[in-house]
């Protein structure tokens, strides 16, 4: 039976490099799932993200999207229509000379009337707060604006599965908050999403967490369970919410603390 999204014993080795690839990853996703992939820099999570959308082909195993396999070149078009990736460095994905042309670029490759394209581009510019920058050059935007544009690019295509690689990295606190809210909105709209990060606090709302270390999946479970695993989290190079970390270092084992308010009430009821 064809599942929506399947990683079947997927491995990848970089040709001629000692760089960590990924090793024997298995995964099945139901539509509407929010999966978090946690791991340190160099744990293989960005490689896994590229495997999930067909930008890299596994050296062993299979990646299946609605039954289409990323190993078959003739099926890649069907994969690209279903899976969208937002890269860690937004500059890597920009191709057009203005913000609105950039958002329109992907949509124009779909068979659609120009009025329908216009409507999508306008709606995404509003959603991502980019309307005032419609004629600006993508590469001239601030870091936060680039991040918003890179999300708008992919959103406009309405893929079944969205992959976001460290979407909050390199942002100031205000923009982080804003993007967190946008991603939360998408989640409530039922969007399937895989969020790759090293920080647990970002993905406490995930349905499932998969931890990667040195290219392998070393743990999977609920995000709340990870709050009780400070020693392991440290060894894997993933960051716990600061309140959880402080509680751990103060020797507070129970109750489990997920945020600052809970820590305040444990320390001073």
């Amino acid at each position: 039976m064809a599942r929506f999204f399947v990683l079947d014993n997927v491995s990848y080795c970089y040709p001629g490099s000692a760089k960590t690839g990924v090793c024997q990853v298995n995964l099945e996703l139901e539509p509407g799932t929010f999966l978090a992939v946690l791991g340190a820099n160099g744990s293989g999570k960005s490689t896994l993200a590229r495997l999930c959308c067909g930008l890299l082909k596994p050296t062993a195993g299979r990646v299946l999207v609605d039954g289409y396999c990323t190993a078959n070149d003739e099926e890649l078009k069907d994969i690209y229509q279903r899976v969208g990736i937002v890269f860690q460095h937004p500059d890597n994905q920009f191709v057009a000379s203005t913000v609105e042309r950039e958002i329109a670029f992907g949509v124009e490759n779909r068979i659609m009337s120009s009025r329908a394209i216009r409507r999508i581009v306008d709606a995404e510019m509003v959603r991502f707060g980019l309307t005032a920058l419609r004629t600006a050059q993508p590469h001239s935007l601030s870091g936060g604006e680039k991040r918003l544009l890179s999300l708008a690019d992919i959103w406009a295509l309405k893929p079944k599965l969205i992959l976001v690689d460290e979407p909050l990295a390199m942002l100031d606190p205000g923009t982080r908050e804003r993007i967190t809210q946008l991603l939360r909105d998408l989640r409530t709209e039922g969007q399937s999403m895989i969020w790759f990060t090293h920080g647990l606090a970002e993905v406490m709302a995930a349905d499932q967490v998969l931890v990667m270390c040195k290219g392998r999946v070393v743990w999977r479970g609920q995000p709340a369970t990870l709050l009780t695993m400070a020693e392991e989290a440290r060894a894997w190079g993933i960051t716990l919410p600061p309140a959880t970390q402080v509680a751990y270092e103060l020797g507070i084992n129970s109750p489990v603390v997920a945020n600052e308010s809970e820590l305040v009430s444990v320390l001073w009821k």
Partner: protein, 276 residues
């Protein structure tokens, strides 16, 4: 050595747009041995200020003077690893000293020292910097500015893009280099926890104006009033929330160690009460 800014302003002008004041009459001085945090919201002028101090951007008005210069002032820009161009890590780090016209033996010694100081394993010194992981690339970038033996090292958002362990390693390396050499830091960052651990003086820029020049303890008292959008270091914010809830804690510890002492003391007292 002392760097002194007097009424420094920078105005950006662009054709067809009204002039924009990036810095407005900034005055302060930095002395050898200091470790200073530069805080401010996005667009508040932090990068511009670092460029002015590094001599890369002349102020529109005001003066910047350096007294008793005994070493260079070096700026490490945002995402410095993006500018890598040399074939090997060693050559990348040697580029700065070579341009200071040092003899080859001195250059080699500095490269050796800098790459050791940033804890980069020796087997990585002869590979292309582009083959390294993100965290390692950042350490090579740091080594390439350290090799110029700066008196003042200006760092613009050094933690951007680093994960938890990467940030911790950078923090440890910068702290150790400061105790081993007479280097001074001025670090602009959005990460108040990183800054709290490394610095003992806080400069706060808001809309191009210097709104505070003070200690961490004092900054914690006035932050909510002066720049409510700026996050306090987690430990300082926590102590403030505890105090607001009625807990008897000092809300102005000057260092993270002092903040930990406050929290540990409170914890012990709670345990004692629990037993009593």
């Amino acid at each position: 050595m002392e760097v002194k800014l007097a009424d420094v302003s920078v105005v950006y002008t662009r054709a067809g747009e009204p002039p924009r004041k990036a810095l407005n009459k900034i005055s302060f001085s930095l002395k050898t041995g200091e470790a200073v945090a530069l805080l401010g919201p996005i667009g508040s002028g932090k990068s511009t200020l670092l460029q002015v101090i590094a001599g890369l951007r002349p102020p529109t008005s005001g003066q910047i003077s350096v007294r008793g210069q005994d070493g260079p002032i070096v700026l490490s820009i945002q995402e410095p690893h993006r500018g890598f161009f040399a074939a090997t890590v060693r050559e990348e780090v040697a580029f700065g000293p070579e341009n200071l016209d040092l003899d080859p033996a001195e250059t080699a010694a500095r490269v050796e020292w800098a790459l050791t100081a940033v804890e980069l394993p020796r087997d990585k010194w002869t590979v292309s910097p582009l083959q390294l992981s993100g965290g390692e690339q950042r350490r090579v970038a740091l080594a390439s500015v350290l090799a110029m033996k700066p008196r003042f090292l200006l760092l613009d958002e050094p933690t951007i893009g680093l994960d938890g362990p990467g940030e911790e390693a950078l923090r440890r390396i910068l702290a150790r280099i400061r105790t081993e050499t007479a280097i001074s830091y001025l670090i602009a960052s959005h990460d108040p926890d990183f800054l709290y651990a490394l610095t003992n003086r806080v400069l706060v820029l808001v809309d191009g104006e210097l709104r505070a020049d003070t200690t961490w303890g004092d900054w914690a008292q006035q932050a909510a009033r002066v720049a409510p959008d700026l996050k306090l270091p987690f430990l300082l914010g926590l102590l403030h929330r505890l105090a607001a809830a009625g807990a008897p804690v000092n809300t102005a510890p000057a260092t993270p160690a002092a903040a930990w002492n406050e929290l540990s003391r409170l914890c012990r007292e709670r345990v004692k009460e629990g037993i009593g």
